[in-house]
Amino acid sequence: MTRPTKPTAMASQLRRRANRRAQVVTAVVGLAIVVGIWELVVIGLRPPAVKLPPPAAVFATLGHLLASSAFRTDVLVSLRRVVLGWAIGSTAGILVGSLAGLTRLGKVLLEPSLRFLRFIVPFAWVPIASVFFGLSEAGKLFITSYASFFIVAFMAVEGVRAVDPGLIDAGRLLGVNGRMRQWASIRLPAAGPEILTGIKIGIGFSWISLLVAEMVNATNGIGVVLYTETQYSDTARVLALVIVIGVIGAALNLGVASLAARLPWTSGSR
């Protein structure tokens, strides 16, 4: 009988590194193309600087913004709200989703609410939240947690219900008795991939909701800055803000993605 060759943790690592490299290259190329087209439009069409400032001006403004400590504080405030809210919402989502998704009562209650409430956009809660919470931090946190909660809970329910019954049987044979132990040792880990997808989507939702919440009703944070800048018609600043928001969005996504990649969850059972 032939002994199989050793699989390489090497091979998958190399693959991952190649992917990352490809992503970086794509991002850089994309950036170059966008800036390139931008510059061409500015040179070719000569729009007024009020409408479309050249890239150089915008980057200069960006530099000024970043140099300002007030702005940096706003960024940090927003970041904290987003990450905290997302963490709270995700945790709650995982717990509620994975537990309620299993009980019959939970299924009955959750199914319609997850399906219907999904249409009642989280932001509709903003007015209520602002009345309830006023300008407090709690309000912003509520919005960001809410945004993550539903998607994570939804994915958790799916994940926990779609567990391969073979895994459950194997678990029972190996001594996993009782619903709670089964939930902890088998269902929850097995739902890992779905849950991870959920929290990856969740950070995006939380980020958008935070921006909206800050634009509507807040005293500090990037959203406020964006809102006020729009009043002043300083296009360069507004565009600089767009860049900042984009970068933060990308950074958040990357952060969560690399967090997820550290965990050994793999998709599907063997």
Binding site: M1, T2, R3, P4, R172, L173, G175, T266, R270
Partner: protein, 309 residues
């Protein structure tokens, strides 16, 4: 009859095994004894590790009721390799699931070492058609899982895992994840995992069904080797008559639904077996004949005793 060659020197239990009924076993976490809830029932027929008695299984109810099994009776001796064959859908898997305690029988009972089976039991291990390895655990952690639940202390676990991985030939793959393994390799890990709790009865539900012919043959040879080193009882369900005759001491033939044991065929050939030999062919012919009888509905008698032809 029996595995003459292997039985030469008698039955040698491995070092830490205590013979006799009711082995002491480390209590699992919170004093949980996996064998709890069973009780000694009457007299134990000598030499039977597993008794399947009048077992029946009914699915559904009322108009949609389906009788999958009815009056299934057979026994398995210690250190015996039993194969179960039968037409598709006759309930072979169901029998295994009932023995394992994963599904309840509608009628009858299963006695393991004289105790009635109510639920999964530490002494009974099972390997399924798909390996069902936990994808979030490494190979080592998969194999270790059952032992952990039993409260086996760490150093001993580590030792046993190494021993088992060596047994199935996958020592270098301890840190690999299931998705990195081929089908055959994953199935071997599944076997190692099932053996980790030192079960004295191993149930196997068409474990090689999803593998290609070459791997399948390799694993059959491996299985015989592992089994002879471990000496536990095995009940192995398969579609392949050749596989059954190659592996088993006795072959059970199950009828179509409602399934019951129609015949038991002895395979008194020494191991390792030569599939091309005349004796092998004879036994296979008998098995094929039994199978076609069952398929056409002309099944044999219901109850058979071990050793009876």
């Amino acid at each position: 009859m029996g595995r003459a060659a292997l039985q030469e020197d008698g039955h040698t239990p491995t070092a830490d095994r205590t013979p006799g009924a009711g082995r002491e076993r480390a209590a699992g976490p919170a004093g949980h004894d996996l064998a709890a809830g069973t009780g000694l029932v009457g007299e134990v027929p000598p030499g039977a590790r597993l008794i399947v008695e009048d077992v029946g299984k009914v699915w559904g109810s009322g108009a949609r009721e389906v009788v999958a099994l009815k009056d299934v009776n057979f026994q398995v001796r210690p250190d015996e390799f039993l194969c179960v064959i039968g037409p598709s859908g006759c309930g072979k898997s169901t029998i295994l699931h009932i023995i394992a305690g994963l599904r309840p029988a509608s009628m009858g009972r299963v006695l393991y070492q004289g105790r009635e089976v109510h639920g999964p039991h530490a002494d009974i291990g099972m390997v399924f058609q798909s390996p069902s390895l936990f994808p979030w655990k490494t190979v080592e952690k998969n194999v270790e899982f059952g032992m952990k639940n039993l409260g086996v202390p760490r150093p001993e676990r580590k030792e046993r895992v190494e021993e088992l991985l060596d047994l199935v030939g996958l020592v270098e793959f301890g840190q690999a994840y299931p998705r990195e393994l081929s089908g055959g390799m994953a199935q071997r890990v599944a076997v190692a995992r099932a053996l980790a709790t030192r079960p004295e009865l191993l149930l196997m539900d068409e474990p090689f069904g999803a593998l290609d012919a070459q791997t399948r043959e390799d694993l059959q040879i491996e299985l015989v080797r592992i089994w002879s080193e471990r000496s536990s009882s095995v009940v192995f369900v398969t579609h392949s008559v050749q596989e059954a005759v190659y592996l088993a001491d006795r072959v059970l033939v199950v009828t179509q639904r409602p399934g019951r044991v129609s015949e038991i065929i002895d395979v008194p050939l020494p191991r390792p077996r030569d599939v091309t030999s005349e004796e092998f062919r004879i036994v296979m012919k008998a098995a094929y004949r039994a199978l076609s009888d069952v398929r056409s509905g002309a099944s044999g008698s219901g109850e058979t005793e071990p050793g009876q032809r």
